[in-house]
Symmetry: C2
């Protein structure tokens, strides 16, 4: 049944309800006679008070930061002594993996038997795009060479709260008196540390005019690729935030900077909220305030788009178009946040199905116009890069545990939302790309990030900022941290 339209319908009907009420009121209590005036006045006062209390309690009030247990155990409850050391790790892409995939690819024709309508990518990944992905994967993707490439950075694993957490650690080569600042890079879904491969050398190389450089820690989120998933429910973004902070402490960093993207930005924001003294600065390429108040303001602001959103007006409004776009693109969110394990079975079992599911997001979220192109914009990407990321999910069999994160967010929504309402004093910098999914004006960001030092508007790029625009993002991180430092000096 037509969900999309349902939405529109519900909205209309509710505002109709509002009008209806007004009409009933005006009919039942004509404004003549002192008594009826008093009655209307009292009713209005009661309504106003209820509204005021609702807004106060559920929308505006800043909740008290919940007390979190910082040592929740997410691994199996066994009596084995846990190896808590930090061990080197190497990514493996073997001939036998390739052989196994080749065998699976024998049934490729089956998956493409359904011809697309061939006009666009409007129905999802079409058979042309799938054919190109397949051909590249089957005939050009060189497993050994890619394994060498992926191992060019130092990989490690260590156990935090019962889970083996994987991370890349790259120290800069410094020659002169340059400060080394620890920077935690947090990827999103369906991304992996692979998204940071091009930006890492840019961040770890000293640059002129900057007396600092970064030491990069890029972990895989628990349940994503090389990091273990939880064995019980509840590992939502703020719990991952705690794991990430504990990981940084374990590596030896009491204080650090953060750059986050997509759900990694949410996690970074939670770290800055729960541990404000440990986060020296927060840079995000997904600058969004997810609080109810922010969303409400944008909805009410639809009446005066330019007044509310300024230069961003055409990115924030018209609301109906944005809402339709969101509904059209959020089917995967809806499914993942309700039945991750069901869709996960097919994605764990079909390499091409997994590839299509992941690559669709890269194609559509870098530029929504790719939807109208027959090849979905695939030709503008280096297919090797896209496949590296798919193989990280495939070889680790981790797509289901990654999908579960969305259900955890829904199941723990009250605390998730409360955290978006608690301002953090951490110096913050936002990078808005042209085609990102959500754009919000600065004043709304400031409710969550009162110490918003700056915002950069990039007239290019989309949701996967570091992957698409490593130079611009690296420049922006350097710029942001320079500003953070000058404020504290």
């Amino acid at each position: 049944m037509p969900l999309k339209k349902n939405e529109v319908k519900r909205k209309k009907s509710v505002s109709f309800e509002g009008d209806q009420e007004k009409i009933i009121l005006s009919k039942t209590y004509p404004t003549t006679g002192i008594l009826s005036k008093i009655i209307v006045g009292v009713i209005l006062l009661v309504l106003l008070y209820q509204l005021y209390m609702y807004i106060q309690v559920s929308i505006v009030a800043v909740p008290v930061l919940p007390k979190f247990d910082l040592n929740v155990w997410w691994g199996p409850n066994n009596t084995k002594v846990q190896d808590s050391s930090i061990r080197p790790y190497r990514i493996v892409l073997s001939d036998s993996m390739q052989e196994n995939l080749r065998r699976k690819f024998e049934s490729y024709r089956r998956a493409t038997r359904i011809k697309s309508f061939n006009e666009s990518s409007e129905y999802g990944i079409n058979s042309d795009v799938l054919g190109q992905i397949f051909a590249h994967w089957q005939f050009k993707y060189n497993y050994r060479e890619r394994a060498r490439y992926l191992n060019k950075y130092s990989h490690f694993k260590t156990n935090v709260q019962g889970l083996d957490i994987h991370f890349i650690r790259v120290k800069p080569e410094i020659t002169d008196n340059v400060k080394v600042l620890p920077l935690l890079l947090l990827h999103g879904w369906p991304s992996s540390v692979k998204d940071f491969y091009d930006i890492i050398p840019l961040l770890t190389t000293p640059r002129a005019g900057h007396n600092f450089v970064f030491e990069v820690i890029a972990p895989s989120l628990p349940g994503f690729t090389y990091s273990q998933g939880a064995v019980r429910p509840g590992l939502t973004t703020y719990q991952i935030a705690i794991i990430m902070r504990n990981l940084m402490e374990k590596i030896g960093f009491k204080q650090f900077y953060i750059h986050g993207e997509d759900i990694g930005s949410t996690i970074g924001s939670h770290i800055a909220t729960i541990f404000p003294k440990q986060v020296l600065g927060f840079h995000t390429s997904t600058p969004v305030n997810f609080s109810k108040l922010a969303q409400l303001t944008l909805i009410l602001g639809a009446v005066f788009p330019t007044y509310i959103a300024g230069d961003l007006a055409d990115k924030v409004y018209p609301l109906k178009d944005k809402m339709n776009y969101f509904l059209e693109e959020s089917g995967y969110l809806h499914l993942q946040s309700t039945k991750p394990d069901t869709v996960g079975i097919a994605l764990q079992d079909s390499p091409l199905g997994l590839g299509a599911y992941i690559i669709e997001k890269y194609l559509l979220f870098t530029n929504p116009n790719n939807k109208n192109i027959q090849d979905g914009g695939l030709s503008t990407f280096n297919k090797m890069d896209l496949l590296d990321n798919v193989l990280m999910y495939w070889t680790t069999g981790s797509i289901t545990t990654s999908l579960r994160l969305y259900k955890e967010v829904i199941d723990n929504y009250d605390t998730e939302e409360a955290l978006t309402r608690i301002p953090t004093p951490v110096p913050t910098w936002g990078l808005r790309t042209k085609y990102d999914l959500i754009h919000q004006p600065d004043f709304i960001l400031r409710w969550k990030y009162p110490n918003l030092v700056g915002v950069t508007n990039l007239d290019d790029g989309g949701h996967f900022a570091s992957f698409e625009k490593p130079n611009e993002v690296a420049d922006d991180i350097f710029k942001a941290v320079k500003n953070f430092l000058s404020k504290t000096e």
Copy 2:
């Protein structure tokens, strides 16, 4: 992004908007002085008129029945002469299919590597349920025996509007002076003609006290299992309605009865609306009026549940619970109606993934409480029955074309909705099962079906009525048609 909560939020915010407006009005125009009263009056009149026009035009008004082209060509545009005969068809389940599946099952461990949290089926199909499905499919499902069973009815194929349409046709054995009435059985998604295997003999066997019996025509919907899918966009439910009516005419039935379930009920309703003179009676186990007015009425009626819904009150309300339930269970709808081809790639390629995706619907829509059980209620089913249906989709590689129907419904929503507002004079009978997804009071059904002869409330069963309760559904169809006939006699 928490879709579920988003919904609630939007609703709240919109009603807040309404209240806000009221407050602003009362502040800006205090009801003193004749001029301000006139201004308020005029504003209210304008609002009232706009509201009235909106309701009239977009919700209440009965649209004119659109003129449909009854011969749209959905097959390839080639110059080959089309075989338009009606050919016998046999379902094939071969050893090589089994062999191919066994090879695919070698990677089964991969799909179950992700252990479920094992408390419930809350995250979707869990590894216990998957394990049982797998074991039955791999070790107990006898392909040859099932093929014999599935071929016990006469199968046919014939080309209608460019597409090869498959159907089962079963004539009753009549000994005495009993009228034979043609009955079109329309299945839904993710069902197939398999759902009707137990009910067919009940419908084609004469019974005491009834001077009629049915000849059954059960087609596979275009794009579902053995019927070909369209090669271009647009084959939505009312276009399928036209194909089904043309099929019936081709077989030789100018007039016939219809029983529909799920989206098959929508199609049956459209046939009764577009061709009212050809439909002698319409029986549905999904008695729902999908018009905006129906939904609006149910939303407004939330204030007086018992008044609106009578005995059904606890099935229709509280609205918030029903809405949350709907959101929790409709992720697949959201995905299928926006990106059918993407998720289709994995489902075409992974037999276990397909099985899980389809069987989940059977488990949850027969009884929502199955969600809280570790085995998802699987033990209450005959697994052979569930797998027959999965194999029909698997062996024909038709899941993607079946998913596309949801996108077509969205893409053609205006006409779809208009058709729900055009009443049909066809005698109609509804069967409400206990656990069906949507329940509506009779008076709302009558807006669409003014000739609603009767409604049966079954205190058992769920969404797949014929599959779950063949005896009860057959009894009800006989009862309904007896009533239809007595009205015309």
